[in-house]
Structure formats: structure tokens, C-alpha cells
């Protein structure tokens, strides 16, 4: 990286050229440090890194996805956030936003991959279909698996944007007709940061990229390779309705008095207690609100397999193979009742089948007792 340090623009240079003031830049640095969960004393370090670090090229791939991750990203609330990434980190290739198209676009991508081999960040949005030789998702006449393997080969870091690339999301839900898989199932030899969510929060996405840009390392990751700064807590643990949960005050349905009072949505299927994300703290749309604040339970979009763990408005997911929408409780109750009947029948049958034995042992016992008394 050092060799190219002076050849490429630094982040500060490009931001200034774009028309932002240095003050804006410092605000941005402070902002990002706060999101990454760093203390104020590190703000200077963030700013210095952004002043001196040359821009890192980014290749942003789109496979089986809906582009909600990109949408979320360009709406992250500080203007420099999207500018710095989209314009300034030299986003060399992204289907949705680049000006080039067709052969030109592919040529630009290949040029970046060659020139910055081993340096660029590969961002992947969307899952990769493996079914029918991967033909369910083709770009420029080649399959997504092909593109991914090629781009991953020279990447310094791979970031899996959103639930598609991290967990498979809706297209990997049962019966998964295209055999869609998250990218860590294909690329095994590179560090992959998983940033799940459908979509992930824009500030979280920016935080991950800026962390890499600033420190040259990946942010601290948990066991599922999610950045701890954003995915260490359940939404439940930072939810402003949590006191209602602990007090046992729950909305029973969406139109009752309790829902109106803003009670906990636990009983109407809120997935907050099972979902690791920052919605309760960073929130959405420039910190305006998040689903629970708007009166709807969390659907757990950043969790693995959340589509198949439905229905969204029930606490416990239904049990496949036990009839339509049977829950573990219904199966359990039915089995326990059947067992109760079975045990009663067995008890009656035992007394009938072993009546002679019982008669004998009762007689014997009476005899023995009599003898003991005589002794």
C-alpha cells in the first residue's frame, strides 16, 4: 500500500476537491468514530488516517438481490458517508450506480482487479445460485459463481452486504429453487465480514468500510464474522419498550389498548429478543424511527433463515411435518395427552394380566406380617 501512497488521492484531498470544508470533514470523522464505538480520543487518529490514506478501490458486485442494501447505503445520514464511499473510495465497479455499461464496465472492473490486485475491497450484495450450473444469475454472459471467484481472488477484504450475501435471505428460503447460498459457502480462504440485515443500516455499512480504511484492519468480529460494534447486542437489549417486557405488559393484538399504550410486542411475534442488530440505537432514516418504534414487531431480518422461522406474528415457529401450522406446544400437548391415555390403559392392563401374581404376593405379604408379629 505504501508504494502507491503518493500516486493516489487521499480521502481528505478528494473530499476537499468535492467542495466540502475541512470542518465538514472533521465532523464526518467524529461521526464515524462514534458509530464505530470508539472513544473521542481516537477521533484524531481517524481524521489523520483519512488525511493520509490513499483511497482504496472498491468493486461492488450485485448477484441475487433487490438492491435494498445500496439504497440503504446511499441514504446513510451524513452526506460524506455516501460521497466518500461512492465517489471517493473509487467505487470502480457497481452495476447500479456506475456510468459505464456493457463491455466498458467489465473492462473497468478487470483493469481495477489487475492494477490493484491484493488491495481492493470486494463488496458483495446478493446470494449466489448454485442450481443448474449457476445459470439463474448471469452478468455479462457469465454466472455469479464465476464472477465471485474471479473477483475474490485478488481482494484484500470481502464484505458480505445484507442478509442475501450473509445468510441467503429470501431466495434461500424453503424450497430454495435456485439453490442460493451465502458467499461464505463459496469463498473459504479469505476473511469475509458479514453485515446482515434486509437491508443493513446505512451507517453500519459505512462504519465497516471506514474502519477498514482508517485502521487497515477489519473491525472486531464475533463468531459469525459480524462486526461486534453493531451486532453484539439483541435489539431487545436496546429496545426502548424493554421496561414493558420486564414489567410483563404486552400487547395482545395490534389493535388493542395495550398496543396503543406502546406495550411490548413480544406476544405478537416481535423477534427483537432473537435478533442481533443496531436498530434500537442507530435507528433508520437519519435516526427517525425503527420498526418497533413504529408499532410493528421486529421480523428478525438480520438473522439466519428468518423467512423459514415464521409466521412473523407468532412467538414460536411452526413445526414442519406435523400438519399445517402446528407448533411445538400443540404437538407436545397432543403427545402428552396420548401418553396419559396410554399409561392409564397400561395400568389397567397390568392389574388384569398380573392379577394372580398380585393376589399371591398380597397373600404372602399378609402371611409374612403375621409371622413377624408372632415372632
Amino acid at each position: 500500500m505504501k508504494s502507491i501512497k503518493n500516486k493516489r488521492e487521499t480521502y481528505l484531498q478528494s473530499v476537499l476537491k468535492q467542495g466540502y470544508s475541512r470542518r465538514d470533514f472533521m465532523k464526518f470523522a467524529t461521526y464515524m468514530a462514534a458509530y464505530m464505538g470508539l472513544e473521542t480520543s481516537v477521533v484524531g487518529q481517524v481524521a489523520r488516517q483519512l488525511e493520509n490514506t490513499p483511497r482504496i478501490p472498491v468493486i461492488w458486485e450485485h448477484y441475487q438481490e433487490c438492491t435494498c442494501c445500496s439504497e440503504s447505503f446511499i441514504r446513510s445520514d451524513h452526506p460524506i458517508v455516501s460521497d466518500i464511499i461512492l465517489d471517493k473510495i473509487s467505487l470502480d465497479y457497481t452495476l447500479t450506480l456506475m456510468a459505464a455499461s456493457g463491455h466498458q464496465a467489465e473492462a473497468a472492473k478487470h483493469a481495477t482487479m489487475e492494477k490493484y490486485h491484493g488491495e481492493y475491497i470486494l463488496c458483495v450484495e446478493g446470494s449466489v445460485p448454485l442450481g443448474d450450473d449457476g445459470n439463474y444469475c448471469c452478468i455479462a454472459g457469465r454466472t455469479a459463481i464465476d464472477h465471485l471467484k474471479e473477483a475474490a481472488e485478488g481482494a484484500a477484504v470481502i464484505i458480505a452486504w445484507g442478509s442475501c450475501a450473509s445468510n441467503g435471505c429470501v431466495q434461500a428460503a424453503y424450497p430454495n429453487p435456485t439453490e442460493a447460498v451465502p458467499i461464505h459457502k463459496i469463498i473459504k480462504n479469505k476473511p469475509i465480514v458479514r453485515v446482515p440485515g434486509c437491508p443493513p443500516i446505512g451507517e453500519v455499512m459505512a462504519g465497516v468500510i471506514v474502519h477498514y480504511v482508517t485502521f487497515g484492519t477489519l473491525p472486531e468480529l464475533d463468531r459469525l464474522n459480524r462486526p461486534k460494534a453493531f451486532y453484539a447486542k439483541r435489539i431487545h437489549d436496546s429496545c426502548y419498550r424493554r421496561p414493558y417486557y420486564d414489567a410483563g405488559l404486552f400487547a395482545e393484538s395490534f389493535d388493542d389498548e395495550n398496543a396503543k399504550k406502546g406495550y411490548c410486542l413480544y406476544k405478537v411475534g416481535c423477534r427483537g429478543p432473537m435478533t442481533y442488530n443496531s436498530c434500537g440505537t442507530i435507528k433508520w432514516n437519519n435516526g427517525v424511527s425503527f420498526p418497533i418504534q413504529s408499532g410493528h414487531g421486529c421480523i428478525g431480518c438480520s438473522e439466519d433463515n428468518f423467512w423459514d422461522n415464521g409466521p412473523f406474528y407468532e412467538r414460536i415457529s411452526s413445526l414442519n411435518g406435523f400438519g399445517i401450522e402446528a407448533s411445538a406446544d400443540q404437538v407436545g400437548k397432543a403427545t402428552a395427552a396420548a401418553l396419559g391415555v396410554g399409561v392409564t390403559a397400561h395400568a389397567i392392563a397390568a392389574n388384569v394380566a398380573k392379577r394372580n401374581e398380585l393376589k399371591n404376593s398380597i397373600a404372602e405379604g399378609t402371611r409374612n406380617e403375621k409371622q413377624v408379629r408372632e415372632d
Partner: protein
């Protein structure tokens, strides 16, 4: 009945040692409390109250009881594992696994006589196991595995809320299953399996008590069972004798108890 009076001399034998009984009742209590609070946590009752959230904490208390009981459950489990190595031959881990020819024959006998309700051609008290029979032993192994699943999934779900090292030992559980959904579901479903176990267990204890007349139920309170004099072994403790201090030299005791003796 082929038995004569001489065959039927019984003595009270110390079968279930105190740690075994403490474990049994602690376990029974824990499972009851954990299942009850667990179902409340899974589906809290609708309590309408005009009190503000700041003025009540009942759901938090139910969860607290669940978590505290979970620690006791885990502690009792560790005690029992220890005792499976230092306890008497009825408490030893070998008595739970059908490892010997005798145990396999016992399984067949229990299935024929107790489950399918056959009648022995010749009623011999020697056929009845002194401790738990081989099928019961195997069922406790199943219960133990279910309990392990409950401990792992339960503490796995609890771990993100706790900084205590015991809970942190289970931080691998949720990544292993991929999400809290799955772990929660397993935790809930296995509760039902444990309830099914309890139904069968309680029924069969009364069944044996009623048909065999050896004090099956009261033995888990007193520790003593009536055993045919011929079947008592030198290492067994009879009523009135002081139980040997086995925990002092468990390795010696281990050598003295070959696997074949497990009933």
C-alpha cells in the same frame, strides 16, 4: 409359586445414597420450576394492570427464577456426574449403560414382563433389578442427554446477557446453530420431551411399587429397598450399618467393582 419361606427373607439394603437422593429431588424440583417458568416466558399470561411499567417487574422476576434455577440444575447435574464415579454400585455410571450380557438379558426381561405385561413362567424375585433396571438406566441416559441439550441451549441463549464465566462457556452454542430462533425452538421442544419422560417415569415408579412391593417410591426418600437376602453382596450396606466412606478412596472402590456387577 415355587418359592419357599426360606427364599423370602428380605433385608433392608441402602441402595440410594444421600447425594443421589438430594440430586433426584433437586432435579425434580428444578425441572418442575424450569418448565413452569419456561412456559410462562414462552407465552406470558395477559395480565391487565393499570400500574405503570416502573411499578412492576413480575416478568423480570419469572425470568430471574428461571435463570437462577438453571444454575441449580447445572450444579446438581455436576454433583451427579461426580457421584457416578465415587458412589456405590447402584449410583455408578456403569449401572446406566447396558454394557453386559446380564444387562441385555434384563432389557429383554423388562420389555417382556413390565412393558408387554407377560407373566414369568416361574416367578423369581432374582429377575428384578435391585437398583434401577437396565431399561430405566438407559432412559436416564436419555434424560441426561436431553438435560445436556437444555443446559447448552438455555445457557447459550442466556450468555449474551451475562458476564459470568459459567454462562460464557456456552458462547459457542448460537453460532453453532446459526441463530437464536433455532436454539430457542430446540430449547422449547426438548422441554416437551422431558415432560413426556416425567409422565412415563412417574407412572413406572408407581407400577413397580405396586407390583413388586419392595418400597420403590419410599426408597427415594429413605434410601432403603427390601432385597432378598441371597442377593445381598458384601459391599452392600444393610440397615443399621454405617455406609463406607467411599469418597475417600474412590479409585480403590472402582477397582473392587468390576463392570460385570452392574445390574
Amino acid at each position: 409359586m415355587a418359592s419357599t419361606k426360606k427364599d423370602l427373607t428380605f433385608k433392608r439394603v441402602y441402595v440410594w445414597e444421600l447425594p443421589v437422593r438430594i440430586f433426584h429431588w433437586a432435579n425434580a424440583l428444578c425441572i418442575t420450576v424450569l418448565a413452569a417458568t419456561g412456559f410462562v416466558i414462552a407465552n406470558p399470561p395477559a395480565i391487565m394492570s393499570s400500574t405503570e411499567a416502573s411499578g412492576q417487574f413480575w416478568f423480570g422476576t419469572v425470568r430471574y427464577i428461571h435463570f437462577a434455577t438453571a444454575y441449580i440444575f447445572l450444579g446438581a447435574m455436576i454433583l451427579r456426574i461426580y457421584w457416578a464415579f465415587v458412589g456405590n454400585r447402584y449410583a455408578n455410571w456403569r449401572s446406566f449403560l447396558p454394557l453386559t450380557q446380564k444387562a441385555l438379558l434384563n432389557i429383554r426381561h423388562v420389555l417382556q414382563i413390565d412393558i408387554l405385561l407377560g407373566v414369568d413362567k416361574e416367578h423369581r424375585l432374582g429377575n428384578i433389578a435391585i437398583g434401577h433396571n437396565a431399561v430405566a438406566g438407559a432412559s436416564y441416559v436419555v434424560l441426561f442427554l436431553l438435560a445436556l441439550v437444555q443446559v447448552a441451549t438455555g445457557f447459550g441463549l442466556y450468555e449474551p446477557m451475562s458476564a459470568f464465566f459459567v454462562a460464557d462457556l456456552f458462547s459457542w452454542v448460537i453460532p453453532l446453530f446459526g441463530s437464536d430462533f433455532t436454539v430457542r425452538f430446540i430449547h422449547h421442544a426438548v422441554t416437551w420431551l422431558m415432560i413426556l419422560f416425567v409422565i412415563i417415569h412417574v407412572y413406572l415408579v408407581f407400577y413397580h411399587d405396586w407390583l413388586e412391593g419392595r418400597g420403590e417410591v419410599s426408597s427415594m426418600f429413605s434410601g432403603y429397598k427390601f432385597v432378598l437376602t441371597d442377593r445381598i453382596k458384601p459391599e452392600d450396606t444393610l440397615e443399621g450399618e454405617t455406609p463406607p466412606a467411599q469418597e475417600e478412596e474412590p479409585w480403590v472402590e472402582d477397582e473392587k467393582t468390576p463392570a460385570a456387577e452392574a445390574h
